[in-house]
Assembly symmetry: C2
Homo-oligomer: 399 residues x 2
């Protein structure tokens, strides 16, 4: 068994216990600082502390800072190897990117930043990461699936495009979790499922080759992340006693992007994001303003039944852009949106989010059940991801 990994687990347990104690204790401080929200899906509108992701993020940073010396001094004492500067810088730069995103997320929660900042800043925060990738690996060659090899060859060096892909991965991961959100426990819940999937994947790979340092590296970061998220989940799940804010979504997204990039499994990582990708594609017409998008797209709470219903958007088909019309008709043809035509020619559909889609399929349900359903979808998709990654990959790649 791997000694630094054991220490990592122990430190993570301490981080979990610490987070479990600190998060509720900080609640009043956040409310006093005007950082609170009201639960739109509840009868009583009491103040709930917002953006507690920053507490989890800080505890994560402290835990990893304390952990950093362990694997390196262990290597020097036991293996008598020279100090592995390349590995060390990877860990440091990973923390730098994550720390930047926590800062940005918290600033966003406090200041309500504009959309362009949310796209520019994650890109900038990945610059040092890409630099380390360039120095340590600089492998921009993509192995091609067997089917298209006769056309393009065994592999293709896509050069700078690979760096653009990685930069966009970080932007995608940070925002993807952020837009699949709005009901109690969903943000943290999905992050927990993804983190567990990564842990399982890394363990499988380490089982095949116990010296694969990229997977060890990934575990060093994901295990403390899992610990603090678990503590946050205790308070964020239904009924929420704290909200996690953009801070948590950014923190989680960047952690995933970092381990995916420096752990060399960015494609596998994307497989764990299937529900987020589906949600993103489904949301596309509203997020990019082709179809009217209300300020909040979260489900509508019905205080009489205590159940959640789909929230709606209303528009005139003629007033949509060409793209908007195309998507709406496409979605209607595929029967993936609720569709009601008014007498005056207005059309009412559900808002285009995975949450509303689930409600459209399974009717009004209780908030707790809805979260469970969505997390069920996430787990199901993880199983699909593993099937694609292991048995199916053999058909497309040499394994």
């Amino acid at each position: 068994m791997n000694f630094p990994l054991i220490i990592n687990v122990l430190i993570s347990v301490c981080a979990y216990l610490m987070a479990k104690r600190i998060i509720p204790a900080m609640g009043d401080m956040f409310i006093k600082a005007n950082l609170f929200g009201q639960d739109l899906c509840k009868k009583d509108k009491k103040k709930i502390p917002e953006s507690q992701g920053v507490v989890a993020g800080c505890i994560f940073l402290v835990a990893t800072f304390i952990f950093i010396p362990i694997p390196f001094s262990y290597q020097q004492i036991v293996d008598k190897k020279e100090f592995p500067h390349e590995e060390f810088v990877e860990l440091i730069v990973a923390l730098l990117s994550i720390c930047c995103m926590i800062l940005l997320g918290f600033a966003d929660d406090v200041l309500d930043l504009r959309w362009r900042h949310k796209l520019i800043l994650p890109t900038v925060a990945t610059l040092p990461l890409l630099m380390v990738y360039y120095v340590n690996f600089n492998s921009t060659t993509v192995i091609m699936p067997k089917i298209i090899r006769p056309l393009v060859g065994m592999s293709l060096d896509i050069g700078v495009l690979y760096y653009i892909y990685m930069g966009m991965l970080a932007v995608f991961c940070t925002n993807a979790i952020n837009i699949l959100a709005g009901i109690n426990g969903l943000e943290v819940g999905q992050a927990l499922v993804i983190a567990c999937s990564i842990v399982i994947f890394n363990c499988i790979e380490l089982g095949r080759d116990s010296t694969a340092r990229t997977y060890q590296f990934s575990l060093y970061l994901i295990i403390p992340f899992l610990a603090v998220s678990l503590a946050l989940w205790k308070f964020n799940r239904f009924p929420s006693k704290v909200f996690v804010g953009d801070t948590f979504c950014y923190f989680a997204g960047m952690t995933f992007a970092v381990v995916g990039i420096l752990g060399h499994f960015s494609k596998t990582l994307l497989l764990f994001f299937i529900p987020q990708i589906i949600n993103f594609l489904y949301s596309f017409p509203q997020v990019f303003c082709q179809v009217p998008c209300p300020r909040h797209r979260l489900p509508k709470y019905n205080p009489e039944t205590d159940l959640l219903e789909t929230s709606k958007t209303t528009f005139h088909l003629d007033k949509l852009t060409f793209l908007g019309k195309f998507f709406v008709v496409l979605f209607k043809t595929l029967h993936i949106i609720q569709w009601t035509e008014g007498k005056d020619g207005t059309i009412t559909t559900n808002n285009f989010t995975l949450i509303n889609f689930i409600l459209y399929l399974f009717g009004p349900v209780h908030e707790k059940v809805l979260t469970q359903m969505l997390l069920g979808v996430q787990i199901l998709c993880t199983c699909v991801a593993f099937i694609i990654r292991y048995p199916l990959a053999g058909y497309f790649y040499d394994t």
Copy 2:
């Protein structure tokens, strides 16, 4: 001339221009987020955006992120050396520590953290820094002054104490600027003077040995810092249009500590902090609660004369602790406090800050003049520091 340094200056100029544009534009966003203060030394009490240091800090991070690749790719292309992982990790870890402190400072401004957090968190934020120091240098030997060499030898290896010293340096630098504050432009002004002193010192040392990479490293960080601080100064100087918040003090303090530690001139750095050290020693009885300390110790504004006067604290000599009594009597004997005895035995003195001490010496003055006086003291002390560092050091050390 050093090519990466020229690029660094160019990037810093861009950072300055960007900061100059963004800082005033963000003002309303901060006020809306409840991050504002009222100027206690002005007649009109309008809302002034607070903790704008976070904007300067973020622009600093973006500028350095963009700069990072330059020196390293330059070395590889021109000098054809192997990639210098040690130097690279130094730059990354420096940014990690600074980024952590910006996050902590901003959290402090928003949430009003407790005193213990302010001591624990900078210590934790320096852990990775100390780890890099351990790996890259691990020199814990202190050269002794000539006078005491017969007693302890040429040099002394103080081992782990050296790491404790460096950890405390970071805590000191971050808090020292924070307690010498309260009037328009003072925080940024003193940081500018210290940063200029460091630039001059590094240039002198680079003039002696142009390959001294530790001084280059220091300049790579200090020049962008100088740029964003200069932009902040434009808005923070009398009459302040923005306040900089704890964020800036932490950001500045950590930047200084980082360059001092990794640039190997922590003792010289402390010479540039003479006014802060004096202020700390003078404040000691109040900061550590040996003498009653009001919530604000900044000077008292007299709206009739538009001048600032010393602010006061009142106590019974008998009710002080032993230490408190000792300091008060010591200060009185040295004539460095105002001393008024009331009929009922109460004693009134000025609050123990350098700002009040200057007011005690030179009487009520205008806020603008007071800042100029204090910055004058800072510049004077820098001159003294250079005299100690250069002509005088020869008497104590072999140079």
